[in-house]
């Protein structure tokens, strides 16, 4: 954290704990806009098996703060918002990041150190192949794991990303395995699924179907502005990896 910060970490946490997220965003609106304008942190937003409801909730948040994030020069990867698509000519990806979203993502992944937001469940079915969701010729499972490997911090957004949510809501155990969350298979099983895939990056969970716009915005702001850093701040997460002050829902 640098001295030029307009808003200190202490201020943020105090405001959230006393005023809640809505009050926090209202009180420090001007400061947040100022800081978000110059933030250099990259944001990568990947969709798994979900309904884009969390994206919609995100777009419903305070439009001025949202506009500031979107106006920023920092690189954002978000499939529902970006100009580019994935392009393959005769099976070979077009190597222009301005046209090819795939290439653009690879560019970001090379540098790493971004905030990764995952919306939607991880897809492992059928039979652990992950083929229920293929993007750009690979499974979404491979994509999420690849992006998570280079992330600075991972935020699992919404109940699907957290524990499977709607697609993972099954009676039969073998189908739950097809659509687990990134963190939990269900309430009973607390193995962190990302760990099974060799990811040891810090994870913050924000469940909810969808989480409130203000919660998403406040959480993203804290992560983008480095107001929460890991592993130092790990004690601020509860045993389900939710940030104690913004638990979602």
């Amino acid at each position: 954290m640098t001295k030029s910060d307009v808003l200190s970490k202490q201020d943020c946490l105090e405001a959230i704990s006393t005023l809640g997220v809505v009050g926090f965003l209202e009180k420090y609106r001007a400061e947040l806009i100022q800081e978000l304008k110059s933030v250099k942190q990259k944001l990568v937003w990947i969709h798994g098996a979900g309904c884009s409801g969390c994206t919609m909730s995100f777009l419903n948040c305070d439009h001025e703060l949202l506009g500031t994030i979107l106006r920023n020069e920092c690189i954002i990867y978000h499939k529902t918002l970006l100009e580019q698509s994935g392009f393959f000519l005769g099976g070979i990806p077009v190597r222009v990041p301005e046209i090819n979203i795939e290439y653009y993502l690879k560019d970001i992944e090379k540098t790493g150190g971004y905030v990764l937001v995952v919306e939607g469940a991880l897809v492992e079915g059928p039979d652990n192949s992950g083929k229920y969701c293929l993007i750009g010729g690979e499974t979404v499972k491979e994509r999420i794991v690849k992006a998570a490997n280079k992330a600075k911090v991972i935020m699992t957004l919404g109940t699907c990303a957290s524990c499977g949510g709607i697609p993972g809501d099954r009676r039969s155990e073998n189908v739950v395995r097809d659509f687990p969350g990134l963190i939990f298979r269900g309430v009973a099983d607390r193995t962190i699924i990302l760990n099974e895939h060799g990811i040891t990056k810090p994870v913050v969970d924000l469940p909810g179907c969808p989480p409130k716009p203000e919660q998403i915005l406040a959480m993203l702001a804290l992560l983008l502005l480095d107001k929460l850093q890991f592993p130092e701040d790990s004690n601020m997460l509860d045993k389900y990896l939710r940030f104690k002050m913004i638990k979602g829902g």
Binding site: H47, A49, G50, C51, S52, G53, C54, T55, M56, S57, L59, N60, H63, L66, G67, L70, R71, I75, I76, Y77, H78, K79, T80, L81, L82, E83, Q84, S85, G86, F87, F88, L89, G90, G91, V94, V96, P97, E98, I99, I101, P126, D127, S129, K131, Y132, C133, L134, I135, G136, V140, G165, I166, P167, D169, R170, R171, S172, V175, D178, F179
Partner: protein, 529 residues
């Protein structure tokens, strides 16, 4: 040349399109939705209301539509014949705001950024290009490594789309849930004041997007006759485009019809000669303002008959096919058989009377004989051009928003928050029920079958299933179309098939909806006979 677009950005969900081209013309197109979520396993064995509630999570863009389609099916299960007029009015208001909010999202977040595709830089006039970039650029956009901030219209639209949602929240609380016999909420006393205020703001926004006061537009189009409406649209082209509203600008530069030299020829692409389908929207005292129906591309109207809807999965990643709808159970294919070939998508193929249909705003307004859209359609017919095109789909969406806004004004004035919003539903008396609803993207149907009081089969046919199905209108529209800007007039660049992208996005595909439910043992015909 084989071009694969995967993933396609600025559409809901995961989508892939394969194009086989020759000399820059698409010879074969295959559209795939690439994610299966298989909600049906969640719905089966649930209590019907709970199951219908779960369907609102099929799609984050249009949960409201699923709630109302599910409510229609619940009504039939509970033997509710008709809803109280106040409940119907509340539904109209919610649907109206839902259309506006969804269409703004589609136009500004999902479609207009297409106009600043790098393919247009050297093709259109610099002055026009600068104007487009200034208005419609999406976030995190770069050209020649130079960062371009999001357009001013784009940022404004973020606010506008939210207002529609706020109006729905004001009326229905945080979310709309399916409920048999009417609504499960009671509007507050002062909701009229708030709704009027939001409506005023929304319409002010639409007027500024239009560049013309909305009343003037409606009087000259919706309340006029087809010839008059088209003449009004073509006469708009008098001003310098920097002073036009976004919609006006698009209406003028989008089509060759307007005769401008710098037009983008969007009325020449995304054409097909198939059919249109609508189940009708905005029920006013038992009469649909947008009537239900089935229409050929020659604009011949036929009444809508739900019995004629069927589905098949020949080209989808399921076992089973149309030939065995009763005994065959459709199951997703095993892992080793999921690869792009004969079967290439998770979307099944619904047909009406065996015909391929387009659904959505264009279909709704054509069938409703809305003057502007009908007038334009006739104008294109006169020039021996197809009715459906990228331009028509977008103009229809714009027009529908304005018409919905106009109708909303009357409904809000008429609305009585102390009215009767539900009839006490009987216990479950039927074992089969269906509900139809016009979602922003088109015809949405829910079919429920019960056994021992719990769901044994829940089937959903969504708008995108119609449009993006294998052999559906999107593929037909792509086939035969050029892929590069202005119909390849400035050369062929296979690495940026901008027209193909225009066409795909003009349908506003929502893949989350389309791939959601794998049906079952029964086809819809049997469900409601």
């Amino acid at each position: 040349m084989e071009i694969i677009l995967d993933p396609i950005s600025r559409v809901e969900g995961h989508m892939r399109v394969l194009l086989k081209t020759e000399m820059g013309i698409v010879k074969e197109a295959k559209c795939s939705s690439t994610l299966l979520r298989g909600l049906e396993k969640v719905l089966v064995n649930q209590e019907p209301r709970k199951a219908a509630c779960s369907t609102t999570r099929i799609c984050g863009f249009c949960p409201t539509s699923h709630a109302f389609a599910g409510a229609g099916a619940l009504d039939q299960l509970h033997g509710v014949d008709s809803l109280p007029p106040d409940a119907q009015l509340a539904k109209n208001i919610i649907q109206g705001f839902d259309f506006i909010s969804n269409h703004i999202t589609h136009l500004y977040m999902l479609w207009f950024p297409d106009l600043v595709n790098p393919a247009y830089i050297d093709v259109i006039e610099k002055k026009l290009w600068d104007e487009l970039i200034l208005r419609f650029a999406p976030p995190a956009y770069r050209i020649h490594t130079q960062h371009i901030p999001p357009g001013k219209s784009y940022l404004k639209a973020l606010h506008a789309r939210k207002m529609g949602q706020e109006a729905i929240r004001e009326l229905a609380g945080n979310e709309v849930r399916p409920f048999p016999g009417g609504l499960d909420f009671k509007p507050t006393e002062n909701c009229i004041t708030v709704l009027k205020e939001i409506h005023g703001k929304v319409m002010a926004c639409l007027s500024s997007m239009l560049g013309i006061p909305w009343r003037e537009w409606i009087e000259n189009t919706y309340l006029s006759n087809p010839e008059g409406a088209v003449k009004y649209l073509l006469d708009l082209d008098k001003k310098d485009f920097s002073r036009m509203g976004d919609f006006e600008l698009f209406a003028v530069i989008g089509a060759e019809l307007t005769g401008r030299d710098d037009n983008l020829m969007l009325d020449k692409f995304g054409c097909h000669e198939e059919y249109f389908l609508s189940c009708g929207a905005f029920n006013e005292n038992g009469k649909m303002i947008f009537r239900p129906g089935f229409m050929s591309s020659d604009l011949e109207y036929l009444p809508f008959d739900i019995e004629k809807i069927t589905e098949n999965c020949e080209s989808s990643f399921y076992s089973g096919s149309e030939s065995h709808p009763f005994d065959g159970k459709t199951e997703p294919l095993p892992a080793n058989e999921i690869s792009y070939g004969e079967k290439y998508t998770w979307v099944k193929a619904p047909r009406y009377d065996g015909k391929v249909c387009e659904v959505g705003s264009l279909a709704r307004l054509l069938i409703a004989e809305e003057p502007l859209i009908t007038g334009l359609a006739k104008e294109f017919k006169k020039r021996r051009l197809p009715v459906a095109s990228v331009y028509m789909r977008l103009i229809a969406r714009i027009q529908e928003m304005l018409v919905a806004g106009y109708l909303l004004e009357g409904w809000i004035n008429e609305f009585d928050p102390n009215g009767i919003f539900r009839v006490q539903p009987e216990k479950l008396i039927n074992t089969r029920g269906f509900g139809l609803w016009e979602a922003p993207r088109g015809v949405l149907g829910h079919w429920i079958e019960l056994k021992d009081g719990v769901v044994s089969n829940y089937q959903i046919i969504t708008p995108t299933t119609w449009n993006v199905s294998p052999g559906g209108v999107m593929e037909r529209s792509l086939e035969g179309s050029p892929i590069c800007a202005m119909g390849n007039k400035f050369g062929i660049d296979c690495s940026n098939p901008v027209i193909a992208l225009h066409i795909v996005r003009s349908f506003d595909p929502c893949n989350g909806c389309a791939v959601h439910v794998i049906e079952s043992k029964l086809d819809p015909i049997k469900l409601h006979s």
